[in-house]
């Protein structure tokens, strides 16, 4: 009987394993003796050059790259920490809480600046600002807003143009969206006013950066707030349709972070991967890189990078989160 239950559990696991990945790719599956399972929120095409460079150096390691949303990473990882070797996510707060809760393995062999790592377990490897991305057509002949305040004014000035054409993250679904929103709420007084204005314009809510940028290019929306700059950058270079604006009143800058599961079956290989990852992303002359490098300053100006510290857990508190979501819904969902 017990065997049947075990079998049933395995099947259920496998079933849930197979389902609902945004993307799933194998690298170097043929020659390798070791497989690293990486659960990540970063699109495969942005990460592929790095993985290919890694497996070229480490032919004995294969990589199974599984893509899902940031909140989903947190849920799955907490549920089965054994099933993954490495978790990569742009939701710094969730990653930090995973580390704080003891899910991450300290890696003695990785040397990384103190501001970009926590407990020698969680390693930041990109610096990515949250951007305001606009459809150029919607602002033709008009000044382009350079700050949140100017964005509010522009939205208020032409509500007919922007009604139902403003987009931002649905912070209830997106971990990264929640991180950006909470950090904005903390740092900028204008945040809630902006939310009110966007709510008044029947804001569209998105789970992911990709969809938002698609709609921007299509012209379905004219303004996207708190979009991940790196995703927009990947499109902006080829198209003149959209423009990325880093708010002049400090862009909120996050780091993508990686951690090795404490229950990892392949801790040595995983540590090698993290070493490679931070080296690759810190290298000032890495030509194949698609992700933004880890960089504390932009053009010599220090960025307001979200600090890796226990305070990140504040907004993950149930009461605090409920409170925030309540306020957020009040502001944005007005009908």
């Amino acid at each position: 009987m017990r065997n049947f239950i075990a079998l049933g559990l395995i099947l259920m696991c496998n079933a849930s394993w197979a389902q609902n990945w945004e993307d799933r790719q194998q690298f170097n599956a043929t020659d390798a003796t070791t497989t690293l399972r990486i659960i990540s929120s970063t699109d495969t095409n942005l990460f592929a050059p790095l993985i290919e460079a890694f497996v070229a150096q480490n032919p004995d390691v294969a990589i199974e790259y599984l893509v899902t949303g940031t909140a989903d990473i947190d849920t799955r990882f907490r549920k089965t920490p054994k099933a993954f070797d490495i978790a990569i996510s742009s939701a710094m707060d969730l990653q930090l809480k995973l580390t704080n809760d003891g899910y991450a393995l300290p890696l003695k062999g990785v040397s990384h600046p103190a501001w970009a790592q926590w407990r020698q377990s969680l390693f930041g490897f990109t610096s990515e600002p949250a951007a305001i991305v606009i459809n150029r057509a919607a602002f033709k002949g008009l000044p382009i807003p350079q700050s949140r305040q100017e964005l509010i004014e522009a939205l208020r000035a032409r509500p007919d143009v922007f009604r139902n054409r403003v987009g931002t993250y649905d912070v209830r679904q997106s971990g990264l969206g929640y991180l950006f929103a909470t950090q904005d709420a903390r740092a900028f007084e204008t945040f809630w006013r902006l939310m009110e204005v966007m709510g008044g314009l029947d804001v569209r809510l998105y789970c992911c950066s990709g969809d938002m940028i698609d709609d921007l290019i299509d012209g379905k929306i004219a303004v996207a707030y708190n979009v991940l700059g790196s995703y927009a950058q990947a499109r902006a270079e080829s198209q003149n349709v959209i423009k990325i604006i880093l708010p002049s009143d400090f862009p909120t800058t996050m780091m993508r972070t990686a951690l090795v599961s404490r229950s990892s079956q392949e801790p040595q290989a995983a540590e090698r991967f993290i070493q490679f990852l931070v080296g690759y992303q810190s290298n000032p002359i890495e030509s194949t890189r698609l992700l933004p490098p880890l960089n504390a300053t932009e053009n010599g100006v220090e960025r307001a990078t979200i600090a890796l510290e226990p305070a990140l857990m504040t907004f993950l508190d149930t009461l605090k989160r409920n409170n925030f979501l309540y306020e957020w819904e009040n502001a944005l969902i007005q009908n």
Binding site: N100, G102, W118, E309, P310, A311, L312, T318, L319, K320
Partner: protein, 454 residues
């Protein structure tokens, strides 16, 4: 001196005591510093936890009959440490968990206003946790908000490690310094004893004057006792020498008188048995007189040995004069007395003493020689100036050849011969006073030789 039983060393004992004390002090210092640092560091962590939990409690309000707790960002922000310590918290409402980590236990015994610190384990790591509560008063209800906040102690133990290392360096440094000082202090202290010892050692054998150099107070009783001992010793020595001189004088003079009377009586008596008795008497008187003379000689030598009056002299001349003077006495005993050896042996020494010594040697030789025997006095310059007196007597007993020069010691084969046992002692003392020695040897074909080497 070799029999003195030596147990331990004052210097080592002193140094060990001081070093042991220093080691104990160094260890105490290390633990005191470390203990103090633990308290200070722990107090620092407590203060931050207290501040954080207070700011969290301050954020709790009742709104619409419902508890709201809008955690301030700074509450966790202030808990950031260089070692990236983990933070755990739990929020309870009237004992029911409403947010945070549900495996963090609120400490019983917290009543409104106060807070309790505890150190414990959570998820396999050591944590410091604070439990605090606050009573919220609503429209018609009282709600107790309880918060447990915990932090790991990595930064604390890093700090403590660093402080421990510094404290260890401090302790070792203190110990090294104290050990060096201990060696120096014990050497300096024992040095005073060493000084006294060397000044005692440097003294001549007859120097019994008191020590007058300043000594540390602790050594004063020792030196005082030493001085008084030497004073008594000197007094008793001089008393006994005086006594001997006095006694010898007092005996010799009446003896001379008795001898002259005995001689005169011998001339007058005719009966053979009476004559024989008189001769025996005269012989005994001679012997007593000679012993008294030797005692006087010895006392004089003991006195002069300290104040040698060295002069340039010729040992051959000295020996020749003695031989000339003693030849009549030798003739009386039918002995032949001859002088041999180098023609001139210059030496710088005390004439009276050397003469005395050689006369005693010849005296001895004459006493132990059989009738018609020959006595040779040989003076030679090499290897060192020496005078040898050889006789044809019975020789020295081989097993006593080492001890015969001791005062009043006589050979076991000499019981039939009258003597005081001082002759060889006088010769030895004279030799010693000149830095030389006497050597006793037996001659193969009979007889013995005594060599006085200077």
């Amino acid at each position: 001196m070799a029999d003195l039983s030596v147990s331990g060393s004052l210097r080592n004992r002193l140094a060990l005591t001081l070093i042991g004390g220093a080691a104990v002090l160094a260890i105490l210092l290390f633990f005191a510093v470390r203990n103090y640092a633990v308290q200070v560091a722990q107090q620092g962590q407590n203060d931050i936890l207290q501040a954080s939990v207070t700011s969290m409690l301050d954020a709790a309000v009742i709104r619409n009959n419902k508890v709201e707790l809008d955690l301030p960002y700074s509450a966790f922000s202030m808990l950031a440490t260089p070692a990236d310590d983990q933070v755990f918290y739990a929020i309870l409402q009237d004992g029911i968990h409403i947010s945070g980590y549900d495996d963090l236990v609120f400490s019983a015994g917290v009543s409104g206003g106060n807070s309790i610190f505890e150190t414990g384990k959570m998820r396999g790591v050591t944590i410091r946790k604070i439990s605090a509560s606050k009573t919220l008063i609503g429209a018609n209800q009282r709600i107790e908000i309880q918060i447990v906040l915990a932090q790991t102690q990595d930064a604390l133990s890093d700090t403590l490690d660093q402080i421990s290392r510094n404290a260890a360096v401090l302790g070792i440094g203190f110990f090294a310094l104290a050990a060096a000082l201990s060696f120096w202090a014990s050497s300096a202290t024992i040095g005073q004893l060493g000084k006294l010892t060397s000044s005692v050692t440097r003294r001549g054998p007859q120097d019994l004057s008191p020590f007058s150099k300043p000594v540390p107070r602790e050594m004063a009783p020792l030196v005082t006792s030493l001085n008084s001992l030497m004073g008594r010793l000197e007094q008793s020595l001089s008393q006994s020498e005086d006594f001997i001189v006095e006694a010898a004088h007092r005996v010799r003079t009446p003896l001379a008188t008795v001898r002259s009377y005995a001689e005169a009586t011998l001339q007058r008596v005719n009966k053979e048995e009476n004559r024989e008795a008189m001769r025996s008497m005269i012989k005994a008187i001679d012997e007593s007189s000679r012993a008294a003379g030797q005692l006087l000689d010895h006392a004089m030598i003991t006195f002069r040995a300290d104040h040698l009056e060295r002069q340039e002299l010729d040992l051959v001349a000295l020996a020749k004069e003695l031989v000339l003077r003693l030849t009549p006495i030798a003739d009386m005993k039918d002995l032949s007395l001859t002088l041999q050896g180098d023609s001139i042996v210059p030496y710088s020494g005390d004439f009276v003493l050397i003469q005395n010594a050689v006369r005693n040697l010849i005296d001895n030789a004459m006493k132990y020689s059989p009738a018609e025997g020959s006595i040779q006095v040989i003076v030679s310059a090499g290897p060192s100036p020496q005078i040898t007196v050889c006789d044809r007597g019975p020789g020295f007993p081989n097993d006593e050849i080492e001890t015969l020069t001791t005062r009043f010691q006589r050979g076991t084969n000499a019981t039939n011969t009258i003597g005081s046992g001082l002759g060889l002692t006088i010769a030895r003392d004279v030799a010693a006073a000149h830095g030389g020695k006497i050597t006793l040897t037996n001659v193969q074909e009979g007889g013995a030789c005594v060599t006085l080497s200077l």
